[in-house]
């Protein structure tokens, strides 16, 4: 289990993440949703180990993140960033193979092949990474982070993704989320920051709504997706519609009638 306990982070006395507690279990997908400025990215960096929290603790499988060396951490969690800049002419395959650094695999070439097939990037393998389109680059990056945690291990692993669908078209978006779903069966827990609420509604098991550094609501998708709390978090009237394809809900912006939406001061 990936556990964040009362994680707190300030910039100049201003709390960006305020005493957030959260649990991620292997075999589930948790989506972090919230408006811009909610503190999602900062919280993400606290979980990945990029920055240290002022108070509170983050623990992977019971080990405090501060006590883990970067190599040990890399064996237990992989992180997919939103953007990466590569200044050298690596091929797509070479980028994917970077993920092999931390995972002493016995069959590296098979591992890479398998992962590239799943992310539909095999046909790109000999092209220069920098010549790929935005969407292709993201899929190659996904392949790279998957390589890091793909192989079965006796302990649960975790995948943290920061908006992995931002440059993807609709087919690719659903492709990526289906890949994430397939990870559940491999003893992997997935934490993903998403902007598209409906993707979260369709694919996530749990949702955490963040606003102003605080968890407004966390729980199963069906519990969290509720018009009033969504409107409060996103400062916009929301209407939930039944989704005939999935049986779940579709989130739509409701018409703006001349009513004052309660605005909340930014902390």
């Amino acid at each position: 289990m990936l556990k964040a306990s009362k994680v707190h982070f300030c910039i100049r006395q201003r709390p960006i993440v305020a005493e957030v507690t959260l649990e991620l279990h292997p075999g589930e997908i948790m989506a972090i949703l919230g408006p811009n400025g909610a503190g999602k990215s900062t919280f993400f960096k606290l979980l990945s180990g990029e920055i240290k929290c002022k108070h509170g603790a983050v623990a992977y499988n019971g080990h405090d993140i501060q006590k883990l060396k970067s190599k040990e951490l890399a064996e237990v969690r992989a992180v997919m960033p939103q953007h990466s800049q590569l200044n050298f002419p690596f091929t797509a395959q070479e980028v994917v193979e970077l993920g092999l650094i931390s995972c002493q695999s016995k069959h590296p070439s098979n591992l890479v092949k398998e992962v590239m097939e799943i992310t539909n990037t095999t046909h790109l393998k000999d092209q220069l990474f920098n010549h790929l389109s935005g969407g292709e680059k993201q899929r190659v990056q996904l392949a790279r982070v998957l390589v890091q945690i793909w192989e079965p291990k006796p302990f649960p692993r975790y995948l943290l993704l920061d908006e992995p669908t931002s440059s993807l078209d609709i087919a690719q978006q659903h492709g990526v989320l289906k890949v994430l779903q397939s990870l559940k069966a491999r003893n992997i827990g997935v934490l993903v920051i998403l902007h598209e609420l409906n993707l979260a509604a369709q694919y996530a098991d749990k949702i955490a709504l963040l606003k102003n550094g605080v968890v407004a609501k966390i729980g199963k998708v069906s519990e969290v997706l509720e018009e009033e709390i969504l409107a409060h978090v996103f400062d916009h009237p929301i209407q939930l519609i039944h989704n005939p394809v999935t049986g779940g809900v579709l989130i739509a912006a409701a018409a703006q009638v001349n009513q004052t939406i309660p605005t909340f001061k930014q902390a």
Binding site: K71, P81, F88, L98
Partner: protein, 352 residues
């Protein structure tokens, strides 16, 4: 291109490195055979084989003296310094994640030269303990190079990335400062054993003697080997420092290692032969253009290609205005500067 299975990829990389080694051997042979003093090729071979106890012909004593006492140390020095510049250029480019970086441009070379000059002023030429001077000078130059590269690094760092423009500007500033200080020190020093300003700014392999080789060999070979063990980390670093951290690389440790090894290699080279520019820029690029960016090939390939190119440039320097010699920095600049311009042009093109 390169086959997909990693096993054969490593094999093909090794073949390429072997190829470079072979070319280096040829260039060394050419460098040993040619020069102001004429030694016919059969005699060159005879002398070389005689060193390992095999007799393949006769030669004159004077020929042997020139070849063994003057040319061999010079070729060895060119190999060590050229290789060192190549591999440190590649390492620094990987560290700064910027293909426009090289020891000369970012001020490592001039920092090393400055400290070398200061050392020579503080420790008079005729002082006792020649041993201390032989090792102390290169090490002091290393400190100078290290200080300068750290200054440039911190000047140009914004949000975990090193911006190209700021990097070059920081390098220009540091270079200007070091050059003026070198001029200042040389102005006030009256020891004529302090080498001239052109020695420091354009380089000169002519002073290579056997007495300098052991120090150069140890202080360049050791950090070179250390760098070769960091190829995987350099690959990971190419995506970004945070991404490398996420993949399990101890980024701070790797950065420190790269900086220290590069500064040491460059510092030692500069203290012995002055500043030779552009090798560290051109060589890693050529390797990447030809064979891809995998540091497992780029690092050793840069060492070998740097050794090849510097020996070749020195050969030209020695032959073109016999019996005088062209300063080697002139030749590397004549080739390197247009390459640098082409690089900038290409980078801008790919950005638009």
């Amino acid at each position: 291109m390169v086959p997909t299975l990693s096993h054969t990829k490593i094999q093909s990389q090794n073949i390429i490195l072997l190829g470079f080694g072979f070319v280096l051997g040829l260039v060394i042979l050419a460098s040993l055979s040619l020069g102001a003093f004429q030694i016919p090729f059969p005699q060159t071979l005879a002398i070389l084989f005689d060193q390992i106890g095999i007799s393949v012909g006769t030669f004159e004593v004077q020929q042997e003296n020139v070849l063994i006492q003057i040319r061999v140390p010079r070729v060895l020095m060119a190999m060590l310094v050229g290789g060192g510049l190549g591999i440190s250029g590649a390492a620094l480019q990987g560290l700064f994640r910027n293909p426009l970086v090289e020891p000369g441009l970012i001020g490592v070379s001039s920092g090393a030269a400055l400290f070398a000059v200061i050392f020579m002023v503080l420790v008079p030429a005729a002082s006792a303990l020649v041993w201390i001077k032989a090792v102390g000078l290169p090490l002091f130059a290393f400190v100078g190079g290290l200080i300068h590269v750290l200054a440039v690094y911190y000047l140009s760092k914004t949000q975990g990335k090193t911006d190209s423009a700021t990097l070059i500007l920081a390098g220009v500033a540091i270079n200007a400062l070091a050059a003026s200080l070198i001029g200042l020190v040389l102005f006030f020093a009256d020891d004529s054993a302090l080498r001239s300003f052109t020695f420091w700014s354009l380089g000169d392999l002519g002073g290579a003697t056997w007495s300098k080789i052991p120090v150069a060999l140890t202080l360049i070979a050791a950090p070179t080997f250390l760098l070769l063990f960091n190829t995987k980390q350099l690959n990971a670093l190419a995506l970004g420092e945070q991404e490398a951290f996420h993949m399990g690389v101890n980024v701070q440790q790797v950065k420190l290692r790269l900086l220290i090894c590069s500064a040491l290699v460059v510092g030692v080279g500069v203290s012995m032969v002055g500043m030779i520019g552009f090798v560290g820029l051109v060589v890693p690029h050529l390797i990447r253009i030809l064979f891809g960016a995998d540091h497992r090939l780029v690092l050793p390939g840069s060492f070998l290609l740097g050794a090849i190119l510097l020996n070749f440039a020195d050969l030209i320097a020695r032959l073109i205005v016999i019996p005088a010699e062209m300063p080697i920095g002139v030749i590397t600049a004549l080739v390197g500067a247009p390459f640098f311009i082409w690089l900038i042009f290409n980078l801008n093109k790919s950005r638009n």
